[in-house]
Symmetry: C2
């Protein structure tokens, strides 16, 4: 009985790691769709978000059943509580990737990204992928050292986010208001995606150490 219980806890970890893979693929494809004004790719990100939602809903059911039948305590209880929180964050990361894809779709066949900020968006996409990849490794390995690394990556994301605003507000910005609105929202989506990845990593620290770090101080 006890073994089936621990297998179920491991399965939970596996499903969370699977969620990180899906939302990594989503932000990666959404970034490409945005940069290349690729409608088909944008549509695929939008339609695949359901899969993330489905896994999260499955995780919630498993956790409810685990709690009702096994009454986990100590580290196991921290695991199920952390899993609920991590699942919520990963589900939201899927939504944010979908939002990026929707901007790409809205502006197609044009690109929502003026040439001057292309490289910043490329970097934001790369950092988003790095963050979620590390978050997945943290969940799988329960590596607290690695979890702390995500804070630095998030700082890098915040710097890119500020750089974006600088370009938008520069006197030589020549694209007017509509692209500025798009870029403002896109920047916000990447920045929030990063915040949620940091929250996942902090939940790994909580799960291992039993102590909570404060929430990310989101912009």
């Amino acid at each position: 009985m006890r073994d089936a219980y621990h297998e179920e806890l491991d399965a939970l970890t596996g499903r969370l790691v699977e969620m990180t893979r899906l939302v990594r693929s989503a932000i990666s494809r959404a970034t490409t769709a945005l940069l290349d004004a690729d409608l088909q790719l944008a549509e695929s990100v939008i339609s695949h978000d359901e899969e993330v939602d489905r896994i999260f809903s499955e995780i919630e059911t498993r956790i409810f059943d685990l709690m009702a039948t096994q009454q986990p305590v100590a580290v196991d209880l921290r695991m199920v509580i952390a899993a609920l929180r991590m699942g919520t964050d990963l589900e939201r990361m899927g939504d944010l990737a979908e939002h990026v894809a929707k901007v790409a779709r809205l502006r197609h066949p044009d690109s929502a990204i003026p040439p001057e900020i292309r490289s910043t968006i490329v970097e934001m996409g790369q950092i988003a992928e790095r963050l979620v990849t590390k978050a997945g490794s943290c969940i799988a390995s329960r590596n607290v050292e690695l979890a702390l690394e995500l804070e630095d990556d998030d700082d890098a994301m915040d710097r890119l986010h500020r750089r974006l605003f600088k370009v938008l507000m520069a006197p030589d910005w020549k694209y007017g208001v509509e692209p500025a609105i798009d870029v403002t929202l896109i920047g916000r989506y990447y920045e929030r995606y990063a915040d949620h990845a940091v929250r996942v990593a902090r939940d790994v620290v909580y799960l291992v150490t039993g102590s909570r770090t404060p929430e990310p101080d989101a912009v």
Copy 2:
């Protein structure tokens, strides 16, 4: 023993209702700070957000202790799981009110809100307050009918949000890019605040009925 347990569950409800009061006051004061370019009021919203975070952290500790010592099942288990989720959403609503206040502070002594969109922001603030007030009543009364009302209020918020973009993108928008960025972000904060209130109401439905409605389809 059983009585102390139910008292503790009631206390949880009381703390969540207290969170709704605090984040209602926060969005109300943030809206006024924004409209009146009132720096002192903005600062007070920003400094009071800690209180919301503190209550949430206390709720989390209580829930962990409850789960570890009482092993709730059935509706009680749904209550603690829903409470964790509701607390997360309410904590985020506090952050979003703080973000609105920070825009007011950033632009002080100017106002971030051009006259043309003043009335829309007033309405968004009113709907945000109505949503969180109803969310608080739902938590206290477990009224499923009332919980469903929040969906309509959220639709009204989405309409205001779209109206905002329309004004920003109109050919006669004369304030340039910086105010457009401010208004884009502010609009997003109110819209997200409303989404989180709806999630709280949906958790009340879950807690009462045991069934989950899908996530709000956020813009």
